[in-house]
Point group: D2
Chain length 345, copies 4
Amino acid sequence: MIYMNCDYNEGCQPAIMKRMVETNMDQHIGYSEDDITAEAKALIKKACGREDVDVHILVGGTQTNMTVISACLRTHEGVISSAMGHINRHEVGTIEAHGHKVLTLDTTDGKITAKQIADFCQDHINDESREHIVKPGMVYISNPTEMGTIYNRQELLDIRKACDEYGLYLYIDGARLGYGMAAEGADFDLPFLCDVCDVFYIGGTKQGALMGEAVIIMNEAIKKDFRYIIKQNGGLFAKGRLLGIQFAELFKNDLYMEGSRHAIAMAMKIKKGFLEAGYKPYVDCPTNQQYFIVPNAVEEALGKEFIFDHECRTDADHWAIRFCTSWATKEENVDKLLALLASLK
Amino acid sequence: MIYMNCDYNEGCQPAIMKRMVETNMDQHIGYSEDDITAEAKALIKKACGREDVDVHILVGGTQTNMTVISACLRTHEGVISSAMGHINRHEVGTIEAHGHKVLTLDTTDGKITAKQIADFCQDHINDESREHIVKPGMVYISNPTEMGTIYNRQELLDIRKACDEYGLYLYIDGARLGYGMAAEGADFDLPFLCDVCDVFYIGGTKQGALMGEAVIIMNEAIKKDFRYIIKQNGGLFAKGRLLGIQFAELFKNDLYMEGSRHAIAMAMKIKKGFLEAGYKPYVDCPTNQQYFIVPNAVEEALGKEFIFDHECRTDADHWAIRFCTSWATKEENVDKLLALLASLK
Amino acid sequence: MIYMNCDYNEGCQPAIMKRMVETNMDQHIGYSEDDITAEAKALIKKACGREDVDVHILVGGTQTNMTVISACLRTHEGVISSAMGHINRHEVGTIEAHGHKVLTLDTTDGKITAKQIADFCQDHINDESREHIVKPGMVYISNPTEMGTIYNRQELLDIRKACDEYGLYLYIDGARLGYGMAAEGADFDLPFLCDVCDVFYIGGTKQGALMGEAVIIMNEAIKKDFRYIIKQNGGLFAKGRLLGIQFAELFKNDLYMEGSRHAIAMAMKIKKGFLEAGYKPYVDCPTNQQYFIVPNAVEEALGKEFIFDHECRTDADHWAIRFCTSWATKEENVDKLLALLASLK
Amino acid sequence: MIYMNCDYNEGCQPAIMKRMVETNMDQHIGYSEDDITAEAKALIKKACGREDVDVHILVGGTQTNMTVISACLRTHEGVISSAMGHINRHEVGTIEAHGHKVLTLDTTDGKITAKQIADFCQDHINDESREHIVKPGMVYISNPTEMGTIYNRQELLDIRKACDEYGLYLYIDGARLGYGMAAEGADFDLPFLCDVCDVFYIGGTKQGALMGEAVIIMNEAIKKDFRYIIKQNGGLFAKGRLLGIQFAELFKNDLYMEGSRHAIAMAMKIKKGFLEAGYKPYVDCPTNQQYFIVPNAVEEALGKEFIFDHECRTDADHWAIRFCTSWATKEENVDKLLALLASLK
């Protein structure tokens, strides 16, 4: 079976593994206060074009979201998210377990708009009973979104403006950030993200690292005591040097974007193949997640050789399925997929 | 100005005040271990027709909801509720502050169905990622609902069945329970509620008490250590005798239902008046909350003499407004309202 | 049996009950936005000698503590308290249920010192592992303490200084504040408390009200959105006018202090009686809680006619017992107690 | 500088790194449902001599403690721990952040006794105000303790008995379990631990893995839905195969105990050296943590070539310092340390 169900089926970029082997018996201080982590942070700051940001490397995405969000909100505040947002759908309610309501906005493509955010906040202010209702304190968006779509520069600036108007933090979940920046038509980069939001993270786990998500904090209020909050959430990794190695290698020699570009090339090849074979996208998107609507028979036939994700049934006769590429996707496997697809005509 | 915006504009039933005056300087032990509370509990058990239930009297509705729900759920479990549910809309996310997600089902009239509950749970079980998603642990419904509608006996039995099938507790918020039981066509009573759910509460605050909500627990697992959890939530009232007096008097001489019937009579008079005047109900309901759609000019004119609730604008020219009656509503005020309405033709 | 086990055995000051009766059928808006509450707040501000404080009236002490403390702390911060502090001993861990550790300091008389606070914070700063440890964010003291002792002006100023040095909020639990201010030798008053701390509360429940604790907030950061947090903690009382009546009457005509002085007079009479009878105080204190060490036989004999509190056994042959006076203590009962005591010689 | 301050200064056992390299580009399903994790679980069950336990591999110790403890307790329950317990001292209050009080017992050597536990619970039951106090729900002990001491078989059986008597779960934190089992005189093993407690974990991070702690659950109530709770706490590791590799290799060919025995041999050599040089142990213990009291001048001289831990000052002229050995400690470094020590005479 060939796995194309997610972007973490393999281990890590060989350069990362090489450095892990080379440094394995070196002695380092723990909890991310080592030299390799310092090197990684310096490289990330350089890529961001800023020295005045704080960088912390955590282990995984759910851990990162719960840490960042609980660092930002007072007890009566909630976080605005698309109903499809990872924090709303796939983290066993960890935001609620940390005491905060996820305030959901509807979406079909995974994106929410500045207008939706402003309307939601304005309705809150206008409500006679507003002191009986959770107060919006933060906006959470993923870029790319959980559906593979991306926010462009203007959309992000508009959301920032709404956040400023209503006193909200803006936090961007970048679990697949590289795949977004490498997408055709993407007009945002790390320096821009540093300008537009208060805090975001650069995903490692889905981008070629064994693990690790790098949180970038611009807002001074969030910077304060952040390591305490990492520890409280189980994220202060004992052998922090390992997280350091992941990002030191990814941000050396453009490896992070190189792997991202490869994933996009493979995704676009799959997209072209499915479209040419006459299948419609479930969501039309330019990143490494590709959703298609296929008849049950096609789903079944593909499932004999490939593992992929099932988003939902679109009707009794069709499935919306998802293929995920990554830095590690072999072109020969993509070719096999498209050949199998062609054979099903 | 005449207040008809809620069912807690006045103090309490005169019989309650009388007993408070009479017993004011008596000495009692604190924290609801006094004799008057024992009397109240005995009267409530009698009204329920059961001795094997636990009764606890708490101060207010939000406090009661957070206490009951946090007593029932493990950390990864959520509570299913209508999106209009009080716990979802009007308690500043206290359920989330206690660590649990509110899992919302859509509704237009405030009610949810057994089928919606079953479908939601079945979808959860079928989901490949279910261990990444909050697990349903409980169903919360209000009866009457926040919109004034009521669940009948069969609907409640169907919901119970769904709860049994999917391993869920059933909890009924009875903030306005008397107004529900007194409604025309209502076919449920306290003994039935004891049979159909695991825990419910009989509202006092909106039903003629100064304060107080009586929690009735049938399920042994919820009974265990419940007083600890009341205390942890700030609900173990020092001068508990006062809560005892509220319910001892309400459940003596049928006072609770007498007040409820009066409220319903007044509500039906208002309903008849508005319908005859040609206004449509926003929600058609048989209890003490009456919603009507009126033109802006009518809203404005009524607002010069009456205080009422604004649910929402239904369009640029109309408001959905709410009138609330109670045990204390004076018929002369209802007459004034209808006379004013007639004059606006 | 005569109750002297606590200061909430009776109902309320007759003036309060009178006004409740008079206004019972008046209509008021809910949730403490009514005129009577406004009157109460104005009287409290006047007593404090300041207009620039926020006043909120909550229902009970545990509720007040959990609301204030969770309004103040970020997730990684804890609250410093005496090990005997009410929040540490007698609130079923509600502070922890709200996510915060209680950082305890040892005490024998219920008081903690500025030096203890400073040392604790300095140790935290000096600790190599400090980011693995809860950060002190606030100091909680009760005045009078749970043992009936009081902090004087200089001790409070010293604690304030330590708080300023280490960036801590200072919060004073005044459940029995009047009994403290009325004690012989007490040199603090409401205006001073407003100057020395960030937030405190004036207790009603133990001071002649049916219920109610008035929170006084000086610090702007705590003022922000406080009503949301009251509601989230179940403390936004529907018939808020009742809370208003309690404090409007207590702060009219010096009633709050008049009741306090009576309680102190009764307590001093009891103290004198026990000391003259040859019994030692368990803690020597000037307020309405009086602790004595008595032989088992005396404990047993007193227990046949009086209800009092058992603090602990001091050895196999002795008990430390507590008598509590209040605004409502009848002098004839005190006389009976002392006569009984005399008869046991 | 030579690091001897902790047991996680190096990477991992070479066998682990070798397998990581070999399998790096293999495709695996995520979230610990892969074949390598299955292999690891089977090996652990075999070592435990039981098939009827559930095994879950989490990332780190704090994460494991917060996951296990929040899986076990209801909202009003707390966990009994030594005041020196890791959950009490070094996890930024994550247990409190999850809503539960840590109920501390005093200790000088890191251990608590069955009698202390029983007395604490009995005092709770006897307390007139017990419903106002956190209820003990669980006992947490570390074996070896945070001070390097160990509980023997009989002590653990006695604690189990106290837990049974008072209805408490028993949870053993085994962050350094191998170093305990390898200690001279240790009389417990994995099958015994399975019998004596409800849940424990076998530490990986400090025992030669890059990361990872294996939770072993015997109690059915804790087994239920445990993966949901792992996920909610950010512990469902995307590339779970890596956690699998750590434990598959450690539990193959006795590697876990081999590394443990090496650490103990090095620790005993250091102990012998310090004792022979005339220094007293701060705590006398048989495992890989060795505490000594040394004059300031010795602390300073050693600190020029070695990194070690500072427990506390024992007086103005002396430090209590800690040396930690591990599976990776080089004997030549131990020799250098002892030579340096000898030269300081």
